[in-house]
Symmetry: C2
Subunit: 144 residues, 2 copies
């Protein structure tokens, strides 16, 4: 298995609401057969009905809105950008679940939940460099 | 918000077990402070304790193992690779939750759950081209 991810699909209970939220943050989606696709760097972020998504993976959908055990992170280039994005997410209908704060490891982060409760961390972490195109390269921790 | 994702963190209940699983699939991790980092194309896949992950996002961890509402997909270049990867995931301690099957949309896919229940779809989808480096570019659906 090559170490890469092709798609991340978020199960949603209201596709239009979810699409509006991500579009309010500046993403641009294409809708096909009740599925919304966003190009996100070298992969796709997809919005799809939660029940259909669960069934398609051979799983029971269970209750929506709780902590699902996966957190997406969006790293930015400054602390100001962290603050601005959290404010924008709230404005767009998200919920700030952790206000931005500095951590002892030198990074600054906060978190929001999208309208379906999917968690996003927003972070400025000087130790994890972002390339011009936004791709992230992990440091070699042995040399830090 | 630029349309990109920097990190995907999977909450796990047994870090060593989770790391062994992904390493058995061929990924190579670095462990730092009870956190395992894998470079996955232009982003990082991270394994971290589920409770810590929830708390760090300002959330309640809830129960582990259920459907969390997010599915990761790993697209490959042939149907044979789908079959091989599902077999490898099972061998490594994962659970095949949907055996591979062809869909009317021309793709062929199955799904497995990692030891913590995180769902992965494995798909061959000729309509979503993979570049040499494994990055995926969504089609312009209007022109299909």
């Amino acid at each position: 298995m090559e170490p890469r991810i092709s798609l991340i699909t978020l199960g949603v209970t209201d596709l239009d609401r979810a699409r509006r939220f991500y579009e309010a943050l500046g993403w641009r989606g294409q809708e096909v057969e009740e599925t919304v696709f966003f190009q996100a760097g070298g992969l796709g972020l997809v919005l799809w009905g939660r029940e259909k998504l669960a069934r398609d993976s051979g799983r029971e959908a269970g209750g929506a809105g709780g902590f699902g055990g996966i957190v997406l992170a969006h790293n930015v280039r400054s602390r100001d950008e962290v603050d601005a994005l959290l404010a924008q997410a709230e404005q767009a209908g998200g919920r700030v679940t952790k206000p931005a704060a500095a951590s002892p490891h030198g990074f600054y982060s906060g978190a929001f939940a999208d309208p379906d409760g999917h968690p996003w961390e927003v972070a400025h972490n000087p130790g994890f460099p972002l390339a011009e195109d936004g791709t992230l390269t992990l440091p070699d921790f042995d040399t830090l």
